[in-house]
């Protein structure tokens, strides 16, 4: 997770208006979801991967590793789509009998499975583009412009910030425990892990009290107001995004929406 963070903050696309990146990712994702065509999904996957790896300077190997994470869930999900109850086993590519039902894979179900699989992975690549090139703080500021309730946004930013504080705290407790043989046996490990979790809880509570005090000292009055950084909108990028989406729709149209 920390690796993704690092790329999000230090990539060549960091200076691009976060709104443009958000629009690009979301618009492409919507187009891909709405068209539900094999060719469009394939193009989106390669387009997003290409932009992320090439323009965002994300190492290809790391990107592939990242894409392979949801692969397992996708496989499990899509295989069940491919296998159906078939009424006419002669039409199936492959089938077997169980009690009175026959299960099998047909051409249509295989196509549906491939469509679903490719569409999902293409959507994931859209989200990866956003999370690998745009820090969460900037995504939150886009959400703020989209009028998401302030409470959610404040919670999001505080949770995001304190994730790292807690992670560091947990790491410290863990090393201090292992330095005293806290994880030397399975029994010790269970006990130490429990102690770690409970002391983490108590300390986070203490942290939250301290945080409140520190915010109050700087004039906090119920809402966390901060200044967003300004970015320049680029007409060229907006045009490129529009062209991309239109081309995707055109590809689908030329295909007759079949594939």
């Amino acid at each position: 997770m920390l690796q993704i963070e690092k790329y999000a903050y230090c990539n060549p696309l960091r200076g691009v208006h976060p709104g443009e990146k958000f629009l690009f990712a979301v618009a492409t994702m919507m187009t891909c979801l709405a068209l539900n065509s094999l060719s469009v999904s394939g193009i989106v996957l390669f387009l997003m991967a290409g932009v992320t790896v090439w323009k965002g300077s994300i190492p290809l190997f790391f990107y592939i590793k990242l894409l392979s994470i949801p692969l397992f869930f996708l496989m499990a999900g899509t295989i069940t789509v491919a296998i159906n109850v078939v009424h006419n086993p002669d039409h199936a590519l492959w089938s077997w009998q169980y009690a009175n039902l026959s299960f099998g894979i047909t051409m249509e179900s295989l196509l549906a499975c491939a469509k679903l699989f490719l569409r999902s992975i293409a959507t994931v690549s859209c989200l990866y583009f956003l999370s690998l090139t745009t820090p969460l703080v900037e995504i939150i500021s886009i959400l703020r412009k989209l009028k998401i309730p302030e409470l959610f946004l404040e919670l999001m930013s505080l949770i995001y910030r304190y994730l790292f504080v807690l992670l560091e705290m947990a790491e410290r407790i863990y090393s201090s425990q292992s330095a005293r043989q806290g994880y030397s046996s399975i029994k010790n490990s269970y006990r130490s892990m429990g102690l770690l979790a409970s002391s983490l809880l108590i300390r986070s509570h203490q942290r939250s009290l301290n945080l409140y005090m520190a915010l109050e000292a700087r004039g906090y009055n119920g809402t966390i107001k901060v200044l967003e950084q300004r970015y320049q909108l680029s007409k060229r990028n907006l045009l490129l995004i529009a062209i991309t989406e239109l081309s995707l729709i055109l590809v689908d149209y030329l295909n007759g929406g079949s594939l």
């Binding site: 963070e5 690092k6 903050y9 960091r14 820090p135 969460l136 703080v137 930013s157 505080l158 995001y160 910030r161 790292f164 504080v165 942290r207 301290n210 945080l211 005090m213 520190a214 915010l215 109050e216 000292a217 700087r218 004039g219 906090y220 009055n221 966390i224 107001k225 901060v226 200044l227 967003e228 950084q229």
Partner: protein
């Protein structure tokens, strides 16, 4: 305006667990001074400092801020905290935002300034703390020393009349310690009063205009560094130690290596100067 920014009269404070943290603390804090607050762990330093921004409220006694008794309603507290800033010892407590830029902008935003003014203040505070290059970095990728500087920029951006530092140089390397102390001097030159809690007697002796010594929940002595550290009785009765420089100087004077009429040096350079002059005088 009154000569004192703060006057404390007979403050008492107890923590919920029954610890009497302040027991009749009285002190006056002069404007535009560099003040060091010394005292052992548990002497009540942080408790005292948190009273200065109204986070803690005394059970007895009163605080006079800018010539007026401090009240604890919302408006008075906001007014107080706009003028008195507090830099917490652990920057991790203070930094709530994942973005350095947003973090520093929080204080000035609360002052109700326009976005443009806030932006200028943030830019200025980052420049003053020499952290402009960290502007686009996330707070969780900063080093401890960098976090400390950002926590100071946080407060500087609010332009307060007085800044309280709770052990600003604790667990910093010598380079950062130096940088922070220089920064505190710069801030003070602009007319900002500074109160710094510390355990470092050498630094306090060299840096402070006034030293407050705390013990058992009250200030047992306040005065210029020379006076405090030449008070043998005080040093014996508290956990204070004599600054190394002063100790060596006194020893040399006592054994006749240096003339009795010289005033004690406040820093190493002054000490070297005295030694040089002494050597010259002897050679003549």
């Amino acid at each position: 305006m009154s000569r004192y920014i703060f006057e404390m009269q007979d403050l008492h404070f107890n923590y919920p667990d029954g610890t009497a943290a302040l027991q009749g603390l009285s002190v006056s804090i002069e404007r535009n001074k560099k003040i060091a607050l010394l005292g052992a762990n548990g002497a009540g330093k942080s408790t005292f400092l948190l009273h200065l921004i109204g986070i803690l409220k005394p059970v007895k006694g009163k605080i006079i801020f800018n010539g007026q008794e401090l009240k604890y309603d919302r408006a008075s507290l906001i007014n107080l905290r706009n003028k008195v800033g507090y830099v917490f010892q652990d920057p991790e407590i203070q930094l709530f935002s994942a973005s350095v830029w947003q973090e520093v902008s929080f204080g000035p935003m609360n002052l109700g300034l326009t976005n443009e003014d806030v932006e200028n203040r943030v830019i200025r505070a980052l420049k003053d703390t020499d952290t402009t290059c960290l502007k686009d970095r996330p707070t969780h990728f900063l080093s401890y020393g960098q976090k400390k500087l950002i926590s100071i920029a946080d407060i500087l951006a609010m332009n307060p009349d007085m800044i309280i530092f709770d052990e600003p140089t604790a667990s910093l390397d010598p380079k950062y310690t130096h940088r922070i102390l220089d920064l505190l001097n710069d801030i003070n030159q602009r007319g900002v009063s500074i109160v710094m809690a510390t355990h470092d007697v050498d630094k306090a002796y060299e840096w402070a205009d006034t030293i407050l010594v705390m013990k058992d929940g009250w200030i047992i002595k306040a005065g210029p560094p020379e006076e405090i550290f030449n008070n043998e009785h005080l040093i014996q009765n508290t956990s204070l130690e004599k600054p190394l420089l002063l100790k060596i100087f006194k020893e040399l004077q006592l054994n006749g290596y240096l003339p009795q009429n010289r005033t004690a040096p406040r820093n190493v350079n002054q000490f070297i100067e005295i030694l040089h002059q002494n050597a010259l005088n002897k050679a003549l």
